[in-house]
C-alpha cells in the first residue's frame, strides 16, 4: 500500500492507504477523525465537507493521492482553532441551538466558515448559493442562515 504524508489540522500525518481512497475514509478509518460525515459518497449532500487549502471541498470525492502538499482542515481542526472566524461561527451555532439530529452540521459549519472567509458580509442570496450543496433532512436551514448572519454581523 502506498504511503502518504498529509498535512491535516496543522500536523503532518503518515497514511498507508490505497491510492484511490477518498479523503473522507482516510479521515474516518485511518485517522479516527469521525467528525467528517459520510452522507452520499457522490458530492451531493455536503456532509463530508472539509477545507483543502481553505476552500470547501467534498472529501468523499477527492482521492488521498490528489492531496499532495495541500493543507486539509476538518471540523476537529475548526473546533480547536483559535482564529476569529472559526470561533464566531461555532458560537453562533450554539447561540441559535441550530442542530436537531446534528449529523449534517459539521459539513454545514465547514461550508459556512469557508463562505465567511471569502465573503464576510454575505447577502441572503450569497448564503443560499454557497450553502445549497448541504442537505439537512431535519430542516434546520432557517437556523443555519440566522447563525451565518449572526456570525457575519460580528465580523464586519
Amino acid at each position: 500500500m502506498p504511503e502518504y504524508n498529509i498535512n491535516i489540522n496543522g500536523k503532518v500525518k503518515k497514511i498507508d492507504a490505497d491510492t484511490d481512497t477518498p479523503i473522507l475514509w482516510v479521515l474516518r478509518d485511518h485517522l479516527d477523525l469521525v467528525g467528517t460525515k459520510y452522507g452520499c459518497g457522490i458530492a451531493q449532500c455536503g456532509a463530508c465537507t472539509v477545507h483543502l487549502n481553505g476552500s470547501a471541498i467534498r472529501s468523499c470525492s477527492v482521492a488521498v493521492s490528489a492531496v499532495g502538499n495541500q493543507v486539509i482542515t476538518t471540523i476537529e481542526g475548526i473546533s480547536k482553532s483559535t482564529e476569529k472566524i472559526e470561533n464566531i461561527v461555532k458560537k453562533a451555532w450554539l447561540t441559535h441551538d441550530v442542530a436537531q439530529c446534528g449529523y449534517c452540521q459539521s459539513g454545514q459549519i465547514m461550508n459556512a466558515t469557508a463562505l465567511l472567509k471569502t465573503n464576510p458580509n454575505p447577502s441572503d442570496t450569497d448564503i443560499d448559493r454557497a450553502m445549497t450543496g448541504n442537505i439537512c433532512r431535519c430542516g434546520t436551514y432557517t437556523r443555519i442562515k440566522t447563525a451565518i448572519k449572526t456570525a457575519a454581523a460580528q465580523l464586519t
Binding site: 490505497d18 479516527d32 467528525g35 450554539l94 442542530a99 449529523y103 445549497t132 430542516g139
Partner: protein, 729 residues
C-alpha cells in the same frame, strides 16, 4: 403541589440500588467517553450514588440523569432530563445527561416513535425526580431528627425552614440511596416550574459542532471489522449465486458470506424485503466498498417486477372499482349527495418516499453463540433485541442493545433489519463488525412511505351549507385515511371508505404516517370547498368546529374541537389574516395528529417569476411546552421537511428497482427553497404535554398548495408539486 402514588404503573425502576463507587454505570468505554465537554459548575465527583434508574448523585452534588428514550434529533435527550431535574429540584447547570441503554426492567417504552416520548414519559419522569427529592429530604430529616414537612428544597439544597440550617443533595446522597421508595410523593404545581418552560440548549450541542464521535457510524472498537451487504437489485428478486472467490481474494477482505435474516416469528418491526443478502467483511470501509463494486451476482425473479405506471393504474382503478372497506358512516350520505345543489369532487395523490436520514443505516455487533452485544442507532431497541434473540437462538437476557445518537430517524429506524444483519454477520464470522449501508443501499433497501391516492367529495346545499362529505382513500399496503378525524363529527352525512393494494415493495412508518399525505389533501380540498361556498377558509373551518362543539355527530371523534379551533384562531390573529397585503398570497391549513393541534398560515410572493415562501406562521397546542427552544426548532424542521417532500421528493420504480438511488436523482429541499422566516406560537393552557416531533409536518403541504393557488390560480392535486411546474426559489 399534587400528591401522587408512586407505585402506579411502575415496575422495578424505583428499586433502590447500592452505591456504585467512583465510576460510571455504563462500562462501555466508548459510550462513557461521551462525557460532558461543557464546563460544569462542579468537577466530577469521587463517588456516585444511585437513587433510582434515572438519577445518580455525586457527593459534591453533581447529578447524572439518564435519558431513557432514543435520540433521533427530536431533542428528547435534553427535554426528558429537564422533566426529571424539575421535580428533583436541582440547578440545570449541575446536571449531566447520559443516554440510557436498553433496560426493560428499569424503563418503560424505550421507543422513539409516534411523537410519544414526552407524552407517555411525563408521569414517570416527574415521579423519578420527585421520589429522589423525597428520599433526599427523608435522609436529611432522619439525620437532623426533624420532620420531612419541616424541610424545603431549592436548586439542590435542603433547608430546615424554621432554623435556616441547610445541607446539599451531595451530602445526603449516600444516605438517601439506602432508603425505601416512598409510597406517595408530591409533584410540583406547574406554576412553580423553574426548568420546564425555559429555553434550554441541546445537551449535545457542543459535541455536535466539534465533530465528537456521537453517532452509530462513528463507533469503533479494537479489532472491529467493517462490513457491507449487497441486496438484490430489485424488489421481487432473490440471490442465485456470485463470484465469491474473486471477492474473497480482494485486498483487505477477510470474509464473504451469504446471510439470511428472515425471522422465525415476524414482529411488526421486521419489515424487510431483502432477507437473503451477500455480506462482505474487511479491514476498512473503502476496501469493502471496492469489493462490493466488484461483485458479480446472479439474481432470479421470485415475484413479479413492479413499476410506477402499474402502481398509478392500480391506485386509480382501486378508487373506481376496488374492494372497499366501510370505515365510518354517519347519516345518509347517498341521499345528501343526491339533494345537493353542488357537489365538489377532487382526487389527490402522492408518491413513495424514502426516509433518507442523513446518517445511513448502520450497526455494531459483537456476537458469539451465547451472547450478543449491539450498539448503534435504533428507534426500537427492545424489538431489535428480541428479534436477534429469536433469530440466533440467544437467550434474551444475554442480548444487550446500547444506543448511540442517531443521524435522523423519521421512522426508518423503527425497522431494525440492519441490526439483525450486523448480528448475523458477527455471529457467523466470529468477529466484532460494524455494518454500514452505502447511501444507495439505504435508498434502495427502504421501508418506504406508501404511495397514496384519495378521493374527496363534498355536498353543498342551496345555502352553501356543507351537508355531505365522503372520503375514499387507497394506498400501497394501507389506506391513508383516519376516519374519526376532522371533519368527522362536523358533517351530518359522512362516509369513509378504505382500500389497500398488495405489493412486494416494503413500506412502513415515515414521519407522521398517513397524516403526512392526508392532511395536505384534506386541507387543500377544504380550501376549495370554502371557496365554492363563498366563505373565508378560516371562517369556514371555524363554522365546522362550532358544529362539532354544539352538536357533535357520532361519539368517537378523535379530536377536541375547542382546541382545534383554538390554534386556528391563534394563527389567524398572530398572522393578521384579515389584513390583505399587496403582493402577498396566503394559504391556511390546520391538522390534529399525535395528540397535538397545529394551524399554519403560509405567505407567498413572486420574485422574478419564482415562488418565494416569505413567512410561515405556526400555532401549536401541545399542552405544556418542556423546552421552547427545542420545540420551536422541531416546528421549524417539520415545516421545512413537509414543504420539501411535497415539493420535490419522489421515489419511482422500474422493473422492481427504484429509479432514484442517491441524492443526484432524489430531490431533497435545499437552503434556497426554504421559507425566509418561520414564527411559532404555543397555546398556554397547562394541559399535560403531547408530542411535537411530527405534528407540524402534515398540514404545511396544504398551506403551501393553498398559497400557490392564491398566487397563480393553479390548484395542486399531485405531489411532488415540482412536476406541475411549480418552482420555489
Amino acid at each position: 403541589m399534587i400528591l401522587v402514588k408512586t407505585k402506579y404503573n411502575r415496575r422495578s425502576f424505583l428499586k433502590v440500588s447500592a452505591a456504585s463507587s467512583g465510576g460510571m454505570i455504563l462500562g462501555f468505554s466508548w459510550l462513557a467517553s461521551c462525557n460532558p465537554t461543557k464546563e460544569q459548575a462542579m468537577s466530577m465527583p469521587k463517588s456516585w450514588f444511585d437513587i433510582n434508574a434515572f438519577i445518580k448523585i455525586g457527593e459534591n452534588g453533581l447529578v447524572t440523569i439518564f435519558s431513557p428514550n432514543p435520540e433521533i434529533g427530536q431533542n428528547i435527550k435534553t427535554s426528558m432530563p429537564m422533566v426529571v431535574a424539575e421535580e428533583l429540584d436541582v440547578a440545570w447547570e449541575n446536571v449531566i445527561v447520559e443516554q440510557a441503554a436498553l433496560d426493560t426492567q428499569k424503563y418503560e417504552r424505550q421507543i422513539a416513535g409516534g411523537s410519544q416520548s414526552i407524552r407517555r414519559g411525563w408521569q414517570s419522569l416527574r415521579m423519578a425526580g420527585a421520589t429522589a427529592r423525597h428520599m433526599l429530604m427523608e435522609a436529611t430529616a432522619k439525620e437532623w431528627g426533624v420532620s420531612i414537612s419541616s424541610l424545603a428544597t431549592s436548586n439542590g439544597t435542603i433547608k430546615h425552614k424554621e432554623t435556616g440550617k441547610s445541607t446539599s443533595y451531595g451530602d445526603m446522597a449516600a444516605n438517601a440511596s439506602t432508603l425505601e421508595i416512598p409510597e406517595k410523593v408530591q409533584l410540583k404545581d406547574p406554576k412553580d416550574f423553574k426548568i420546564i418552560g425555559q429555553p434550554t440548549k441541546n445537551v449535545d450541542g457542543e459535541k455536535i459542532i466539534s465533530g465528537a464521535p456521537l453517532f452509530g457510524l462513528d463507533f469503533k472498537r479494537e479489532g472491529m471489522k467493517i462490513s457491507m451487504i449487497e441486496h438484490s437489485p430489485a424488489f421481487g428478486m432473490k440471490l442465485k449465486g456470485f463470484n465469491e472467490e474473486v471477492i474473497k481474494s480482494m485486498p483487505g477482505i477477510s470474509d464473504v458470506l451469504i446471510i439470511n435474516t428472515a425471522p422465525k416469528e415476524a414482529s411488526w418491526s421486521n419489515v424487510n424485503a431483502f432477507t437473503e443478502v451477500i455480506a462482505i467483511v474487511g479491514n476498512n470501509t473503502w476496501q469493502v466498498m471496492k469489493a462490493k463494486k466488484a461483485l458479480i451476482a446472479e439474481w432470479e425473479w421470485d415475484s413479479p417486477a413492479e413499476n410506477s405506471q402499474d402502481h398509478e393504474f392500480k391506485l386509480e382503478q382501486s378508487l373506481q372499482t376496488g374492494d372497499k372497506e366501510l370505515a365510518r358512516k354517519d347519516g345518509n350520505p347517498e341521499q345528501a349527495f343526491k339533494r345537493a345543489s353542488r357537489v365538489i369532487e377532487k382526487t389527490y395523490s402522492a408518491p413513495f418516499l424514502a426516509h433518507n436520514t442523513m446518517e445511513p443505516m448502520n450497526f455494531f455487533a459483537e456476537v458469539s453463540k451465547e451472547k450478543a452485544e449491539l450498539i448503534g442507532p435504533i428507534q426500537t431497541p427492545e424489538s431489535m433485541g428480541k428479534s436477534i434473540s429469536n433469530l440466533l437462538d440467544i437467550p434474551i437476557e444475554n442480548v444487550t442493545v446500547n444506543l448511540t445518537r442517531m443521524g435522523g430517524g423519521f421512522g426508518r429506524r423503527l425497522y431494525g433489519n440492519f441490526g439483525l444483519e450486523a448480528a448475523t454477520i458477527s455471529y457467523k464470522t466470529g468477529k466484532p463488525i460494524k455494518l454500514i449501508y452505502s447511501r444507495e443501499d439505504d435508498m434502495t433497501q427502504g421501508v418506504y412511505r406508501p404511495a397514496y391516492k384519495v378521493k374527496y367529495r363534498a355536498a353543498l346545499d342551496n345555502k352553501n351549507e356543507l351537508i355531505g362529505f365522503s372520503i375514499h382513500g387507497t394506498g400501497i399496503h394501507e389506506s391513508p385515511v383516519y376516519e374519526n378525524r376532522f371533519p368527522a363529527g362536523a358533517v351530518p352525512n359522512y362516509l369513509v371508505e378504505k382500500t389497500s393494494i398488495d405489493s412486494n415493495i416494503s413500506t412502513g412508518a415515515w414521519r407522521a404516517p398517513r397524516s403526512n399525505f392526508i392532511a395536505g389533501a384534506e386541507q387543500s380540498f377544504l380550501d376549495e370547498v370554502a371557496e365554492a361556498a363563498g366563505k373565508d377558509p378560516i371562517d369556514f373551518r371555524l363554522e365546522l368546529f362550532d358544529r362539532n362543539i354544539n352538536n357533535p355527530i357520532g361519539s368517537d371523534n378523535d379530536y377536541d374541537p375547542q382546541r382545534y379551533a383554538g390554534v386556528l384562531k391563534l394563527v389567524r390573529d398572530k398572522s393578521n389574516w384579515n389584513v390583505k397585503t399587496k403582493g402577498i398570497y396566503r394559504g391556511v391549513s390546520a391538522y390534529f395528529c399525535h395528540n397535538t393541534y397545529v394551524a399554519q398560515v403560509l405567505d407567498m410572493e413572486m420574485v422574478n417569476g419564482k415562488y418565494k415562501i416569505k413567512k410561515v406562521w405556526c400555532a401549536i397546542d401541545c399542552g405544556i411546552v418542556i423546552n421552547p427552544e427545542g420545540a420551536i426548532n422541531q416546528a421549524e424542521g417539520g415545516i421545512i421537511d413537509g414543504i420539501g417532500h411535497a415539493m420535490y421528493s419522489n421515489l419511482t420504480f422500474d422493473k422492481g428497482s427504484t429509479i432514484q438511488k442517491n441524492f443526484d436523482t432524489y430531490s431533497m429541499i435545499r437552503h434556497r427553497q426554504s421559507p425566509s422566516e418561520i414564527e411559532v406560537f404555543f397555546v398556554d393552557n397547562g394541559i399535560d404535554p403531547t408530542g411535537l416531533g411530527e405534528p407540524t409536518l402534515p398540514p404545511i403541504s396544504g398551506a403551501l398548495a393553498n398559497a400557490i393557488y392564491q398566487t397563480s390560480g393553479q390548484r395542486l392535486y399531485k405531489q411532488p408539486f415540482i412536476q406541475q411546474d411549480i418552482k420555489l426559489g
